[in-house]
């Protein structure tokens, strides 16, 4: 047994001990203490508060309210980090494309049939996570990555040429990604543009009416809380994530022989 093995084992055991210590004495989880910290109290007070609408996000789900309203700009830059990573991947794989007719058979009929049954269920679960992100746990990124799992299942079971045959080319996936990101930008400046055109004041990433600004996104859809920008952000984020991650996975799944012909750039000994 080497020294590094012992170090890994000891550090992992420390993690378990630390975790149990946190749970027992730190007041986390189901044994959360009754006295909350002031920050938590203010978030709980203003997440859904129809009486003080100028401070509220009007969303029953506190995490989504924090992620897309109280710290919306942070989340925007997180999304752009992921987008820049995808841009790097596309730049590496520029010119690559799915070559048709090499082996479009995919896996066996058993795998194909079970994938046919499972993939729509995963897609629907991901969509419900994304569209209900302002009402229940979940959100744009969660729903988008769930749907990406279904798309990668399809890509592996039916081979990547299946996407090509269904007119879901690499450029289309990139276009889906860009549409999602553009929708995020449009939603975040929508009220600002409206205020500039109609007169008055508004803020970037504004959701409900704020002090000095009476403009507001819709907070109710029929009889359901819509939470204004949160719903639209979740929707566009899930579209951006499903486009971007599926594009990344399909690029990684490309056959190496074809890639070498495109990217190769000669032999470097």
């Amino acid at each position: 047994m080497r020294l590094s093995d012992i170090a890994i084992g000891v550090s992992m055991a420390m993690l378990a001990l630390l975790l149990s210590y946190l749970i027992v004495y730190g007041g986390l989880g189901p044994i959360a203490t009754l006295n909350l910290r002031p920050l938590a109290v203010s978030f709980l007070n203003y997440t859904y508060n129809p009486w003080k609408i100028v401070y509220s996000a009007m969303s029953p789900e506190a995490v989504t309210a924090i992620v897309w309203d109280f710290r919306g700009l942070d989340t925007y830059f997180e999304t752009s980090v992921l987008f820049i990573a995808i841009v790097g991947l596309i730049a590496l794989f520029r010119g690559a494309n799915v070559v048709q007719g090499v082996s479009s058979k995919g896996l066996s009929i058993i795998v194909k049939t079970s994938t046919k049954l499972v993939a729509p269920l995963i897609l629907v679960a991901g969509a419900s996570l994304a569209f209900h992100g302002h009402l229940s746990p979940g959100g744009g990124f969660q729903g988008g990555s769930f749907m990406t799992v279904a798309m990668t299942l399809l890509a592996i079971a039916f081979s990547i040429e299946f996407f090509q045959q269904k007119k879901l080319t690499l450029n289309r996936l990139l276009a889906i990604r860009c549409i999602g990101l553009l929708a995020i930008v449009v939603v975040s400046v929508y009220l600002l543009v409206k205020a500039v055109l109609l007169g008055g004041y508004a803020y970037i990433f504004q959701n409900m009416p704020r002090i000095n600004s009476q403009y507001s996104m819709p907070s109710w859809f029929l009889d359901r809380p819509l939470a204004g920008i949160l719903f639209f952000f979740n929707l566009s984020e899930s579209i951006a994530v499903i486009g971007g991650l599926t594009l990344g996975v399909v690029l990684l799944l490309l056959r190496e022989e074809e890639l070498k012909a495109i990217i190769g750039g000669g032999e470097h000994e």
Binding site: I8, G9, G29, S145, F146, T148
Partner: protein, 84 residues
């Protein structure tokens, strides 16, 4: 006892994750090591759930059990399966 149950479950999940990590580090076959790593991620997802963070569970499950092992398996397919 009932209020200690989540704590005990989190502790058991943490212990299982240690074993899974240990096996993933020791394993020479990279494909099996990926599966052990997915098992460790499942334990962590359970711990997140017990710590009352369902949002993190929902993002951790598809990424760490779905996409990350998938990308690792693609990497193994393009390189070598057995560590020397």
């Amino acid at each position: 006892m009932s209020e200690m149950l989540p704590v005990i479950m989190a502790f058991v999940a943490a212990l299982i994750s240690i074993v899974a990590t240990w096996l993933a580090v020791q394993e020479r076959d990279m494909l099996i090591a990926t599966l052990f790593s997915a098992l460790q991620s499942t334990c962590y997802a359970l711990i997140y759930y017990l710590l009352m963070a369902p949002d993190i569970v929902l993002v951790y499950l598809p990424v760490s059990v779905g996409i990350l092992p998938l990308i690792t398996i693609i990497l193994i397919k393009k390189t070598e399966r057995y560590e020397e």
